[in-house]
């Protein structure tokens, strides 16, 4: 039998994924045992060492995940926000207007019947250098009905943001970062055109995307240097997953209503934290 090609990595794959190939490995050693050079023996030892370290790391990761828990809660708004206004330029626009039956309204305060506040960015304050953005799925922002969907979102540094155009209308996608290190771009996007991809390297709150062709179109993306954040849904709830136990400062930030923080402790069972944003009188 021909000896397997490749070095330790090849062996590692065989050992991990293919029992049949594992037989091949023994066949190799059986045939060539007495004539094996010293280097091959060293390689074998090295392979075992690699296997051992990998196993330990995997076990540690599993143990770490087992220790991590979720932070859940709800953000509510105290006070009566001003009524949303109609986006009349949209309705009057000859290309965008027909895409809506009713006149769309602004989305500054999306509030539920009990004050549940949507589009609040909740995060753990002061955590940096923990981004896994390069390996997570992209955030998708769609341009539909001459509006950005979602209106508020959050990503990690290095995470891709794919902007698509589902409208039969030309838009331009213009990000306007303020943090140094994040690049401003402005690109036209024809109907059915390929998606545009953005990434940002510096943390930033409410980084704005706008369309200058249709100046009422905005989306806001908060960029974090860690995976510990969430955006509240229509019911005001949020969940920050896989947070290691410890004490943290939880921050909730809304574009209009402002910011509130709360000291929390995450245990093996996670943590529950409800936050209240208050309108200034």
């Amino acid at each position: 039998m021909a000896p397997p090609s490749g070095g330790g990595v090849g062996f590692l794959i065989q050992v991990k994924g293919n029992p049949g190939a594992e037989g091949g490995r023994f066949a190799c050693f059986a045939e060539e045992c007495y004539s094996c050079p010293v280097s091959q023996l060293i390689e074998r030892l090295n392979m075992k060492l690699t296997l051992g370290v990998s196993g330990v790391l995997a076990a540690l990761a599993t143990w770490n995940l087992a220790l991590a828990a979720d932070i859940t809660g709800t953000v509510t708004l105290k006070g009566t926000p001003p009524p949303e206004v109609e986006i009349t330029p949209l309705k009057n626009d000859p290309t965008c207007g027909p895409l809506h039956k009713d006149v769309p309204k602004t989305r500054f305060y999306v509030v539920g019947p009990k004050g549940e506040l949507a589009d609040v960015v909740v995060s753990l304050k002061g955590i940096t250098g923990k981004s896994t953005g390069a390996s997570v799925a992209p955030l998708v922002i769609d341009q539909k009905g001459c509006e950005y969907l979602p209106y508020v979102a959050a990503v990690q540094t290095g995470q891709k943001i794919d902007v698509k155009n589902s409208d039969p209308v030309m838009h331009n996608v213009h990000d306007t970062p303020t943090a140094s290190g994040n690049k401003e771009r402005n690109q036209a996007m024809l109907p059915g055109g390929p998606d545009l991809t953005f990434t940002f390297d510096a943390p930033e709150e409410f980084l704005r995307f706008k369309c200058d062709v249709h100046p009422w179109m905005f989306a806001y993306v908060s960029v974090f240097d860690s995976p510990y954040f969430a955006v509240t849904g229509a019911d005001g709830s949020f969940k920050i997953a896989n947070v290691p136990p410890g004490k943290y400062t939880l921050e909730a930030r809304h574009r209009k209503a402002g910011t509130v923080t709360k000291e929390i402790e995450v245990t093996d069972n996670g943590a529950q934290a409800d936050l209240v944003l208050e309108l200034k009188q």
Binding site: T106, N172, N186, A188, D212, P215, K256
Partner: protein
């Protein structure tokens, strides 16, 4: 080559160029009023097309305003080029020919600035672009005045009045104040924050608004702007207050100019008539400024405010030019008659020279 200071068609062409420049400022005002400055993403091409071959089907939304601005700007550039060449070939005054050349380079520089504002994504360039536009308008308006038959008569016949020093200084100072006011206005427009104060004549219900951090946070919580996304700041509130105070100052100074000119030079004097027109423009401008706030910065009203502001600057500049030139002419007449013992240099009107 025959050159003369009397070129009626050259003058008409200069007037056309000045009017086109004023129109261009109006279209530029529409661009910022509609927040469309970046709707066409590249320059000198337009979304990848040659500017003059840009498909009409893509003139949608803000693209319409920005692309129209580029086309009108190209037209003004062409007119200015023709004007400079025409002046160079046909006008006998060397300094005027040089002014034409300055206008040519000015319009080229202005076009490049507009392009750089798009390419470099810098609002600060937009403010400079807006300011230079006003100065360019003044320059071509001066060219229109200096090539006019009226100006020739004014110079050749030695005018019969000299605007007193105090009035001359008042005209010039007020004109410079209007320019400063236009820079403040351009800065406000390029903040992309809409109205930093939504009421008038009060400001957030007070004579002077509260600009503490708590108050500004409260203002931002309660303002729901459809197209102007940036939150307002204390600086922007103070900037609008400065704009209001400057407007009041300009109104007072222009009223004083009109009143002083009438009192010193009489109602039939051309400077008096121009000063009265200046006062009328400033009056309209104040109303438009208030209307801009009451209409929540409606694009057409805000743009009219820009156009009348530019016209006010031009009027002040031309009045200052006539006033200072009148002194030179008056002195030349006075020098001619200085041997006559019964006459002396006087700020009062002299008899028309024969």
């Amino acid at each position: 080559m025959f050159r003369s200071a009397n070129n009626p068609w050259l003058h008409r062409f200069a007037v056309l160029t000045a009017l086109a420049a004023l129109g261009l400022i109006g279209v530029g005002g529409l661009v910022t009023s509609h927040e469309a400055g970046m709707a066409v993403t590249d320059w000198p091409t337009s979304n990848g097309y040659n500017m003059f071959l840009f498909p009409v089907s893509q003139w949608v939304g803000g693209v319409f305003y920005e692309h129209t601005h580029r086309l009108v700007a190209s037209g003004v550039g062409l007119l200015t080029t023709i004007l400079a060449v025409w002046l160079w070939l046909k006008d006998c005054r060397v300094w005027l020919r040089r002014l034409g050349v300055i206008a040519f380079f000015g319009v080229v520089f202005q076009g490049v600035l507009g392009g750089l504002r798009v390419v470099l994504l810098k609002d600060q360039i937009g403010i400079f672009h807006a300011t230079l536009a006003q100065m360019f308008l003044v320059l071509v308006s001066v060219l229109a005045l200096l090539t006019s038959p009226w100006w020739q008569r004014f110079v050749a016949s030695a005018r019969e009045f000299a605007v007193p020093l105090g009035l001359r200084r008042l005209f010039l100072f007020t004109t410079l104040l209007i320019l400063a006011q236009l820079v403040v206005g351009a800065t406000m427009r390029h903040q992309h924050a809409g109205l930093s104060i939504p009421d008038f004549p009060l400001a957030y219900g007070r004579i002077w608004p509260d600009t503490s951090p708590t108050a500004v946070a409260r203002y931002n919580q309660n303002r729901l702007e459809v197209t102007a996304a940036n939150p307002i700041t204390a600086f922007q509130i103070e900037l609008q207050m400065a704009h209001r105070l400057l407007a009041l100052t300009v109104l007072g100074l222009v009223a004083a100019s009109a009143w002083g000119t009438r009192r010193r030079l009489g109602g039939r004097n051309p400077a008096t008539k121009l000063a009265a027109a200046w006062l009328a423009l400033i009056g309209i401008q104040v109303v438009l400024g208030a209307w801009t706030i009451w209409s929540n910065k409606a694009a057409d009203i805000a743009t009219a405010h820009v156009v009348v502001g530019a016209a006010s600057l031009v009027t002040g500049a031309l009045l200052s030019l006539i006033a200072f030139r009148s002194v030179a002419e008056f002195r030349s007449v006075a020098a001619a008659v200085v041997d006559e013992p019964t006459r002396a240099i006087s700020p009062h009107p002299l008899p028309r020279a024969a």
